[in-house]
Symmetry: C2
Amino acid sequence: MDAVAARAGVNRATVYRRWGDVGGLLADVLDAAGEDDWQPPDTGSLVGDLAALNHEIQAALTAQPPVVTALIAASFRSERADRAQQRLWEDRYARCEIIVSRAVRRGELPSPTDARPLLIASTAPLYHQLLLLRTPPDPHLPEHAARTAALAASAGAFAEPPSVGDT
Amino acid sequence: MDAVAARAGVNRATVYRRWGDVGGLLADVLDAAGEDDWQPPDTGSLVGDLAALNHEIQAALTAQPPVVTALIAASFRSERADRAQQRLWEDRYARCEIIVSRAVRRGELPSPTDARPLLIASTAPLYHQLLLLRTPPDPHLPEHAARTAALAASAGAFAEPPSVGDT
């Protein structure tokens, strides 16, 4: 809050009056991020699109200063930042579903293929390694995670809705 | 720290003298967790082992009170807790590598198969959904993520070391 006040050339109290607390400020930052016109990569192939998306994620999670990592860390401490983080992720995954529908149209994937779990299978290893395990960035991982998810998807891993009632 | 002092029937200052801060206390909790004799499931099949492991992870991440989630959240705030969390994860993934070597021995997977990225592909969607996206627990996810990773692994997704120099 101090840094924001200093950068804006206003009093600390003004920042608190506007946003209440750090969580409120971060929630606004996250909501603003969701209002951009970002579109997922369109490279002409499923693996190309997923790998390019993973490269964007790896770049964001290893950027300095670590803004994205700090926002995610803050979402563990503030309920407002948490909800804003969830809205942003929901928005991003929804926008990425076109990667899967294009691949289905090109005949790369069976129809129907459930987009969300395929996108999560492709992207989750990046977040897991960089954000939770905190291993050093692996330059091969964006491409490898994309290939692994695409391979499973081509084999029909996301083709069927989960059967009802076998829990 | 107050809760720990109350539960132990000692003075707050005693707890601080022993552990310095919350991060130090959590680091000891995490290190103690790594000294158990936990072994990964041994069900007789790769999908069975990975699914059983994922069920354990889902149970841990949705348990009440949310001890595991709180420890992971704390690792974003304390460097000592962070390092202890990394040690615990390294220990757990290392213990789980036997799941992959058993599957190779049974002829379910090509030899060699790189165990770590396969284990991460199988488990990462659980952590991603429950810890980061914070979607409600999906009872199908443990089995589905296991099947997806096993399918990709059988197709050779983890059979080759990443080629050197193509970064």
